[in-house]
Subunit: 270 residues, 2 copies
């Protein structure tokens, strides 16, 4: 017996990450999302490159949408200390950008250095986050540690389970540091339900990201599926997240060469 | 500070999986392996298809090599009970094949069904193994549960961490059931050292498989690296396995389109 959350019939809790519709400009995304009633948008930094983030945030809100998050900060580990310092400086700028945009939190892809011991990367991740916590608090921006699937442990994140992310958030022990739960990264974990409950007790579920895992998956990065195209029990995990107290957006975050090609073809044809 | 096992200077504990040199026939593999002093061979079923396994085993031993394992059994889960029964029957045949070949254990890739809840697959895996334990004991063949990387949780194995494999072996509680530790699948796990120690205390480390994780990895199945080409701290993990009491072979198991192409080119040119 699988406990599932009931279907959601409106789009009031639906958020889309701009990367999902990567070929669209921010303006296109805002127009298309609002046209069908999508209520939230998570803004990838590339989508506002060269723009004034204050104006971008205002445009989004004037269109009737909520800025759910800025994606993404992190990538703290590096072999040289000067590079780690640069990463912290970059994260301070990202926090400022989130504040200007009006994003309540920044999603953190924590980083990893191929060949550097994972525990060293984890130490550097903790130091990196801690070096930005005070600035984030002053800016009114939270930091959402996103554990990434173990297949990204080589170069993208040394934080690969919700248990690790929870431990890290607990260790840093700051009201601005929480965790983003993404079904793509975590669905396989036998301890997922328990760790979601724990995160709920900590009051630190900052985000819930959805997409699906296709069989077969053709690419390590750009072959995520739309919800329903794969094997992830999304409604079940949503049930856990909601039972743990989360009432925020369901954020659709899909990297897909196939979908981006379709979007381009649609645009070229229209 | 990383504790590493010392380098091994001879090949007495080196074993190669025939899949590593897939383009070679068993005879070619035996000739080439022994020519450079490789002491062990793990035989993939494809390599002896159509052959008499008793004769294949004899040929290997006469060449001075040890049969380390037969690869692979498993794939127990299925939606229909008739298919699960067929999987058990197939595993009984594989056990007989291992006994005929003189392989002390069969490696189990446990299986998963896309969209079937992972805990249901895990239940079916346990039932499948339990249905073959008596036969394995009578045949003098052990069964090595191999936890697979979480990126294979959709369709290849619902057992994705050493902790899960250990739990399963403990639950089945049979002297013929143990675990195979493969660095490719497990290197990212923050709990790896502790679980290897636990498995050692259980007296159930049946195999140690090595290869490397390349950055980037271009294919979900066929882009493993040679030891040293990637980021896995292999000697460190070997240190843990040996400290836990394992003194068996270092088994090289590499699926690589790139290497197979090189082997073909070498053969065509010679």
């Amino acid at each position: 017996m699988i406990m599932e959350a009931p279907a959601i019939r409106d789009l009031k809790r639906l958020c889309i990450h701009t990367i999902t519709t990567r070929p669209w400009s921010l303006e296109d995304a805002v127009r298309h999302y609002t046209a069908v009633g999508v209520a939230g948008i998570s803004v990838w930094r590339q989508a506002i490159e060269g723009m004034n983030p204050v104006q971008a945030g205002r445009r989004i809100r004037e269109a009737g949408m909520e800025v759910v998050s800025l994606v993404r900060g992190g990538f703290y580990p590096a072999e040289r200390q000067s590079d780690r310092r640069r990463a912290v400086e970059e994260n301070l700028r990202i926090i400022d950008e989130a504040a200007a945009l009006g994003a309540p939190h920044v999603v953190l892809v924590c980083g990893a250095v191929p060949g550097q011991p994972l525990e060293e990367s984890r130490k550097q991740i903790r130091e990196g986050i801690e070096a930005t916590v005070e600035h984030a608090a002053a800016a009114g921006v939270k930091l959402a540690i996103e554990p990434l699937h173990p297949m990204y442990a080589d170069s993208r994140s040394a934080i690969n389970t919700l248990s690790q992310a929870n431990d890290l958030a607990e260790a840093i022990d700051s009201p601005v540091v929480g965790v983003a739960v993404d079904v793509y990264h975590l669905w396989w974990d036998p301890d997922l339900e328990g760790q979601i409950r724990r995160l709920g007790r900590m009051g630190k579920i900052l985000a819930f990201h959805i997409c699906d895992w296709k069989t077969p998956t053709g690419d390590f990065l750009y072959d995520r599926g739309l919800m329903g195209e794969g094997c992830i029990p999304i409604r079940r995990v949503r049930g856990w997240v909601e039972a743990a107290g989360f009432s925020g957006f369901n954020e659709v975050e899909i990297f897909s060469n196939e979908r981006w090609t379709q979007i381009n073809a649609y645009r070229d044809a229209s």
